[in-house]
């Protein structure tokens, strides 16, 4: 009787543990291509009449060689660039990165507000909060990742 109860308990623990393990690494937004993992691509609603928007995400290189995000394309824009933004005192400086963004081996690079971002220019219809739009990221070694940006509210990430 005691044995059955212990076995049942062990079985339940095992089931619970395996479901936790299964749930942990899976993220709805994660995309893998080669050694590159892309987490949560997001953008935010631009003011109406704006024809620019920025895209953000976390890119992890699980491989043993550096890779490089070379370029991007997106359905909302015919002109997509890779940019960095820096504050020099109280001056905002926008820097285009024609050589792309290096993703070092075994490291993560976060594209985030006030920093590295995918820059969408010449947008005809600015995306609205709740929309999604498709994009492709081209990596030097890993190849092309097809991703989908989730459009958050204009104040993101302050509200996150």
């Amino acid at each position: 009787m005691v044995l059955i109860r212990s076995l049942t308990r062990a079985f339940c623990s095992a089931v619970l543990l395996s479901s936790v393990l299964a749930a942990a690494p899976v993220h709805a937004h994660d995309i893998k291509v080669g050694s590159i993992v892309i987490e949560h691509p997001w953008s935010r609603q631009s003011p109406m009449a704006a024809d620019v928007a920025a895209g953000f995400m976390i890119i992890t290189n699980t491989g043993s060689e550096d890779d490089r995000l070379v370029r991007a394309t997106a359905t909302i824009s015919s002109n997509v660039q890779l940019h960095d933004m820096k504050m020099d005192g109280d001056v905002m400086k926008m820097v285009e990165l024609p050589d792309g963004i290096v993703i070092p081996a075994g490291a993560s690079v976060e594209l985030k507000p006030r920093s590295l971002h995918v820059m969408f220019l010449d947008i005809v219809t600015p995306p609205k909060e709740g929309d999604t739009f498709a994009a492709k990221l081209v990596f030097e070694k890993a190849g092309t990742a097809e991703i989908e940006f989730e459009v958050l509210n204009p104040n993101a990430p302050m509200d996150q």
């Binding site: 631009s46 003011p47 009449a49 020099d88 001056v91 905002m92 926008m94």
Partner: protein, 194 residues
């Protein structure tokens, strides 16, 4: 050549000292800074007609320089100022917030009108002509520069602070980009006497 190097260094040191002093004065919250920031202007407005700086005296106001092809600093700052105006409600009914473009080549009055319509109705866009911009920027110590991009177009570097002016039209400090919300609110409350 040596002499030239010293001269350049000397000018750079003077500029640095002046800038440091300016920031010091600002950080002290002095009501009468020795360095004049601001100047007379008459600029085309998104609300039609023109706005004259002299007509602003009597009520506090704020100026922010930017451009509509700006993905980050400008919308963020404008949403923050818009949120503050909405939060203050009627207590800030006479407070005017101006968004002035440093990219008059692309930002027409119509474009700026559509853009500013995203924000609190007390916010107004001003459009200098290409000829007006250099003096305006110099009067307000605003840095702006065109930066070419690979597609043959350009983006703009620009000063990202909000300039505050009191009811006497005197420069009353700045709100830096990314400043903590409590600090921003405190400065606005002080300016508005709330």
């Amino acid at each position: 050549m040596r002499r030239l190097q010293f001269a350049v260094l000397g000018v750079a040191a003077l500029a640095a000292a002046l800038l440091g002093y300016l920031f010091y004065i600002q950080s002290q919250g002095s009501s009468s800074p020795l360095v004049q920031i601001g100047g007379d202007f008459t600029l085309a407005s998104s609300k039609g007609g023109a706005v004259q700086s002299r007509s602003l005296t009597g009520k506090p106001y704020a100026l922010f320089f930017g451009f509509t092809h700006c993905p980050e600093v400008c919308p963020t700052t404008l949403y923050e100022m818009s949120g503050a105006l909405t939060a203050f409600g009627g207590a800030a009914k006479d407070f005017r917030v101006f968004f002035i473009t440093v990219d008059p080549e692309r930002d027409t009055v119509e474009k700026m009108r559509d853009y500013i319509a995203n924000f609190d109705p007390r916010m107004e866009a001003l459009v200098p002509t290409i000829e007006q911009l250099p003096k305006l920027a110099s009067d307000f110590r605003v840095h702006y520069a065109k930066v070419p991009t690979s597609d043959g177009s350009y983006t703009m570097d620009h000063t990202a602070s909000v300039y505050l002016f009191d009811a006497e039209g005197r420069f009353a400090g700045t709100i830096a980009f990314g400043e903590a919300p409590e600090l921003r609110e405190g400065k606005l409350r002080k300016l508005l006497g709330l």
